[in-house]
């Protein structure tokens, strides 16, 4: 993970793309969100969605995988330069989560993250808070999901 001091407001990171297959949409749905429009093509065809689509929580989980992979790549690059990466910090929460359009089976979704605020933490001197706007866009360029997320980031030691 990167340190709080290494981030700046306005920085935008392309996190990569993922194609949602029908099989993985159904596997996630069977486990966590077994509504018929996430489980069964025929039922989905008769629903207002019109086609099999992913649980919104599946979309956010796949976003997270891309974000964490991006941070782990940064950590690897830091180690290669002889630096020690920051520890991972938890998130107190997110706001304005929007599932703007369905993610259909076969859709290729591209994720991005833009830092919009960096907050000093007086109560937690070793940490800062990073606030970022996160987006997911489909292969037609349409926004399918967005949210504003906060995450603690470790500060560089002053010693």
């Amino acid at each position: 993970m990167r340190y709080f001091e290494d981030m700046h407001v306005g920085e935008r990171t392309e996190l990569g793309s993922h194609t949602f297959t029908a099989d993985e949409i159904k596997a996630f749905a069977r486990r966590y969100d077994p509504q018929l429009f996430h489980l069964d093509e025929d039922a989905a065809a008769h629903s207002h969605f019109g086609r099999l689509c992913a649980s919104g929580w599946h979309t956010t989980a796949v976003y997270m995988r891309h974000f964490v992979d991006s941070e782990l790549r940064e950590a690897e690059a830091m180690r290669a330069r002889g630096e020690t990466p920051a520890n991972d910090g938890p998130s107190p929460g997110i706001r304005e989560l929007r599932w703007a359009k369905p993610v259909y089976a076969g859709d290729t979704i591209t994720f991005a993250r833009e830092v919009i605020e960096l907050r000093e933490m007086t109560m937690r001197p070793g940490w800062g808070l990073t606030v970022a706007r996160n987006t997911a866009v489909n292969q037609h360029g349409e926004l399918v999901m967005s949210f504003v997320g906060a995450k603690f980031a470790q500060r560089r030691s002053k010693s």
């Binding site: 509504q35 039922a43 929580w57 938890p90 929460g93 706001r95």
Partner: protein, 173 residues
């Protein structure tokens, strides 16, 4: 993907929904669950979706700000979804959700936690452009066995209105 278990039902959805938009009344409070979280499930979800050391490895988690192995916040959301799916969503003429005003991760979800969800129905409105459906805003508090709130989520549900042909019988979520 975590192993499928049979703790809380198979959930294939209701052929005939029992609950419609009209059945969700501001002020209603309902509780659903429980769901037991295991270390294996926490690590399996993390390995697939959130491979940060605090969700994957006990020792690394002890050294982290969170002080011990805990579930990914997105895993908590998925568990909450499963609890409400089995609790009422699969019996509801659900059309999904447009989003959530906020998701707050208030306390870590640990291995062995037994989670419940308490739903407060906040407000509702019928769609102007699509009178066959309406919106219902709720607050979902996820509680552990000690009754501590571990997460709060405020989703905006879309639900079909009761068709005249259904006979008009009222039900409660």
């Amino acid at each position: 993907m975590p192993q499928e278990t049979h703790r809380i039902g198979q959930g294939i959805g209701a052929a005939v929904p029992k609950l419609y938009w009209e059945d969700f009344t501001p002020g209603q409070v309902c509780e659903y669950g429980a769901y037991e979280v295991t270390a294996d499930e926490i690590k399996a979800f993390a390995a697939e979706f959130d491979p940060q050391p605090m969700h994957l490895d006990e020792e690394a988690a002890r050294a982290s700000m969170i002080g011990g192995l805990c579930a990914s916040g997105w895993h908590s959301c998925a568990i909450m979804m499963r609890i409400i799916a089995d609790g009422f969503v699969l019996d509801t003429a659900s059309m999904g959700a447009t989003g959530c005003g906020e998701v707050k991760w208030l306390a870590p979800v640990r291995p062995g936690d037994r989670l419940r969800v308490r739903m407060h129905v906040l407000d509702r409105r019928r769609s102007k452009s699509r009178p066959e459906m309406g919106f219902v805003n709720v607050r979902l508090d996820m509680l552990n066995a000690a009754d501590a709130r571990v997460m709060t989520v405020t989703p905006h549900f879309m639900i079909e209105c009761r068709p005249a042909s259904s006979g008009g019988a009222e039900a409660r979520p």
